[in-house]
């Protein structure tokens, strides 16, 4: 009767996990001798020819040239008894009868090898796979080596370690009934030394470190007769699914941060004149009923400055290979809402007067805070302002909204000692920072825009010159 044996891909160097099949030297039906070269494979270290472990007839090639195959994968089937002379008893002789552990480790195995046939029973009990990733100490080219951890007889601390949970331990850390044969405690050599010096048997100590490792503190606690420290990580963490606004924000920010090369510039501005103008205008009829915020001035300043530096109001269209300059400003305003960060737009903000802009901003932020901003409201911005000042923060390095080329962070306005005409006087000062996409905007344009915005806030009368 035919006796089929499968040749698993061996580890031809030290600690390699895979090889690429270069070429077969045999085909099905060929007769092969022991040590006849049957295949050439290439590993991270070398191209090597593999000799057949048995004499017989090739019945099947299980892998193809060009394929990358993991060590242990059967590559070739050989009928070692094509004449059918051998009795069933002799099947148990030769390579297949090697001791199971070493045979599995070293690669020669029967079609249904002992490696697969030996599931880690204890690990299933614990409901966790008993596999750990291990890295080889030497060599290169290896990815990961999977080690099967054997199940233990008892359910001492080792089982908890396997399970990955470190719940409160009932047994006090005193002389306990832990017998020889229980798990060897995990502790670093200096900790072992400390335990030895203090006369503590490490097997009676429960580790509070990661993976159940016994720490110096645990040993000291044990020495003082105190309870070992237990970490209840499960109760102190919350897991929230990533979705909705959080997910959209994350995607947009990652996309922007890793596609647009960001440059951020900073400017500190004395905005006292702007604040004085704001106080004056508030009492005028034109602004009656309007919430005139410093943000409105900043937004207006941006709209004006964009006229002189259109580069910051442009879009990098990678698909068409064009830069799209926009003759309108759809100003995005970053707003913190209970749902997360949303950036609704003020359409055609550049065509608005200061009062109109202030009114639009108020309406926009109200809508956003009520969670009523529609997706359409958030599309097609051309430039964005983020008011970090409302959080009492001075400045930041904002990330550009995808599809735009610049974002301005407007910091908190503070009373600050400032030099005016050679004297230090208290002034209203705030910081501006501008992040821009260096694919579209160079330092010159970015700096000019930032300086223009600053100049408009430092002296709103400059607007007369625009």
């Amino acid at each position: 009767m035919p006796d089929y044996k499968q040749f698993p891909l061996p580890d031809t160097a030290e600690g390699l996990t895979e090889a690429e099949i270069l070429s077969w030297r045999v085909k099905p039906g060929d007769e092969v001798q022991v040590n006849q070269i049957v295949i050439e494979v290439e590993t991270a270290k070398a191209a090597v020819e593999l000799p057949c472990p048995w004499a017989g007839v090739v019945t099947e090639l299980l892998v193809e040239p060009g394929q990358t195959v993991e060590v242990g994968t059967p590559i070739l089937t050989v009928d070692v008894d094509p004449g059918g002379t051998a009795s069933a008893a002799s099947d148990a002789s030769g390579a297949s009868a090697a001791p199971s552990a070493s045979a599995a480790k070293n690669g020669v195995q029967q079609a249904a090898g002992p490696a697969e046939a030996a599931p880690a029973a204890g690990s299933e009990e614990n409901g966790a796979p008993a596999e750990d990733e291990m890295k080889p100490l030497v060599g290169y080219g290896s990815k990961t080596v999977t080690a099967k951890r054997r199940p233990r007889k008892d359910h001492g601390p080792a089982s908890d370690v396997q399970n990955g949970t470190f719940g409160p331990v009932d047994t006090p850390a005193q002389e306990s009934a832990l017998l020889e044969g229980s798990a060897v405690p995990l502790a670093k050599p200096p900790v072992r030394k400390l335990a030895k010096d203090l006369g503590i048997d490490l097997r009676t100590v429960t580790g509070s470190g990661s993976g159940g490792v016994i720490t110096r503190e645990d040993v000291r606690h044990a020495a003082n007769g105190a309870q070992p420290v237990t970490v209840r990580t499960g109760e102190r963490e919350r897991r929230v699914p990533i979705r909705g606004v959080r997910k959209a924000t994350a995607q947009a920010m990652v996309h922007s941060a890793f596609s647009a090369p960001h440059v951020t510039e900073f400017l500190t501005v004395d905005v006292t004149p702007m604040m004085e103008l704001r106080a004056k205008l508030k009492d005028t009829p034109a602004f009656a009923g309007v919430k005139l915020t410093p943000l409105a001035f900043a937004a207006k300043a941006m709209c004006l400055a964009v006229q002189r530096t259109p580069d910051v109001n442009a879009e990098w269209d990678a698909e068409s290979g064009e830069i799209v300059y926009k003759d309108y400003v759809h100003l995005g305003v970053a707003a913190a809402t209970p749902r997360g960060l949303v950036v609704p737009k003020v359409r055609d903000a550049d065509a608005m007067s200061l009062a109109e802009l202030a009114g639009a901003l108020t309406e926009l932020t109200e809508t956003a805070r009520q969670g009523k901003t529609t997706p359409a409201d958030m599309l097609n911005g051309t430039i964005t302002i983020t008011n970090v000042g409302v959080f009492g923060v001075d400045t930041g390095t904002p990330i550009i909204n995808p599809g735009e080329s610049a974002i301005l962070a407007f910091g908190a306005i503070r009373d600050t000692p400032w030099v005016v005409d050679g004297e230090v006087v208290p002034r209203k000062v705030c910081q501006l920072s501008l992040s821009f996409d260096h694919r579209v905007v160079d330092g010159e344009q970015g700096s000019r825009f930032l300086a223009d915005v600053g100049a408009l806030l430092a002296d709103p009368a400059v607007a007369m010159t625009y």
Partner: protein, 400 residues
């Protein structure tokens, strides 16, 4: 520059610069890695012709046809063991193998020059020396299957365990030979000697230098046997030395000699002479066996990445076994039946080795504790007991 004659003496103008060396300097540089002409001891040339040597003929005058056939058989058997083990590694039965292909004459020559009372310190490629010391090929496999540290009784065979750290065994050997000297086992023909094996790459190691110094100043009966196989993994000998390696001995104050490492008779003669010198108390001696590693450094290595196949083809013409075979045939010292018998012996040995390897049991877990100290150690005993009870804690423990 490689030899003293070529150096610029104080007061002289430099004869040459690095950019424009003299012809003598170029020749001297080449000689560091070439066979060295008249400096090379050779009793069998690559054509299998016996070359007369006034110095060394007397060391092999007892070697008759039977002994010559024995040397041929030894080399052939060892080569077959080497090839079989290499295949077993490629089939996943060994973790690694260190081929000796091409170095059979150096090892069988040296190994057969030893007396049972002599002690050998190998590196990790000395399968031929192991063969001569009575260590079976099967006993070599445990280390390479990665299941054992050493598979033979190094006291009974007087063959030290393989040393993986490059050059480290030279210190062990120097200490051992100093002990032989201090114990008074040296001084007449009944004396003892030690032989230590290492490669060309090891000569760059500090350990080898220290071993040379200690052995030299204590007149230790130690033969330093350097198999210069031209390659320290991927580094050629010209990256180890600016002068022929055997000439280094002069700097330490003992004789150095270069022998054709592919000439089994030459290696036998030179090693017999060197061991005799040591037994008589005139050691140490350095032998440089000029040979070639025809296969990879180990099964993990790929020599095609650093050397040309031309070189291998040139060395195949100097094959150690082929020249012994030609010598035997040409001089009517062996007939076809003999060669067929050897061929069938190698087949049988290879089959036995293969069968042993795939059925090889792992040593018991306490094996790693059993040969650490000569005398029992309470600390080690406690560690062993703890380890064994740890293993007993697994489900299914004790069933294997």
């Amino acid at each position: 520059m490689s030899s003293a004659e070529q150096w610029t003496q104080p007061g002289e103008n430099p004869a040459a610069t690095a950019a424009k060396p003299t012809p003598e300097q170029v020749i001297a540089g080449l000689r560091a890695t070439s066979e060295g002409g008249t400096e090379l001891v050779q009793l069998l040339n690559p054509e299998g012709e016996r070359i007369a040597s006034p110095q060394f003929d007397r060391y092999v005058e007892d070697v008759d046809a039977e002994q010559l056939r024995g040397l041929y058989r030894d080399m052939t058997m060892v080569r077959r063991v080497d090839r079989e083990a290499n295949s077993l590694q490629r089939q996943g039965q060994l973790g690694i193998w260190v081929p000796l292909l091409g170095q059979e004459a150096a090892q069988i020559g040296a190994g057969r020059a030893m007396r049972p009372s002599d002690m050998a310190f190998p590196s990790y490629r000395e399968h031929g020396i192991a063969w001569c010391r009575g260590v079976t090929p099967q006993e070599l496999l445990g280390i390479f299957r990665c299941t054992d540290h050493s598979g033979w009784d190094s006291s009974a065979t007087r063959f030290h365990p393989y040393t993986i750290v490059i050059g480290n065994q030279v210190l062990n050997a120097a200490g051992y030979a100093m002990g032989q000297r201090l114990d008074g086992r040296v001084g007449d023909d009944g004396g003892e000697a030690t032989i230590c094996f290492f490669g060309d790459g090891a000569t760059s190691q500090g350990d080898v230098h220290e071993g040379f110094v200690w052995a030299s100043v204590y007149d230790a009966p130690l033969v330093f046997f350097c198999q210069n196989n031209q390659w320290a993994i991927s580094e050629p000998t010209e990256r180890q030395s600016r002068l022929p390696l055997y000439q280094r001995a002069r700097g330490y104050g003992f004789p150095g000699i270069r022998v054709d490492g592919n000439d089994v008779l030459g290696c036998l003669a030179v090693t017999r002479w060197a061991l005799e010198e040591c037994r008589l108390g005139n050691g140490p001696v350095l032998i440089e066996a000029f040979t070639y590693r025809m296969d990879a450094h180990t099964t993990t290595d790929d020599p095609t990445r650093y050397r040309l196949s031309d070189e291998l083809e040139a060395w195949k013409l100097k094959d150690p076994i082929e020249r012994a075979r030609v010598h035997l045939s040409r001089n009517g010292l062996a007939d076809n039946d003999f060669f067929e018998q050897v061929a069938s012996d190698t087949d049988e040995l290879a089959a036995e080795l293969r069968d042993f390897c795939v059925n090889m049991p792992d040593p018991p877990p306490d094996r790693i504790f059993s040969q650490v100290y000569a005398d029992p150690s309470s600390v080690l005993d406690a560690e062993r007991d703890e380890f064994l009870s740890y293993l007993d804690g697994f489900v299914g423990a004790g069933e294997r």
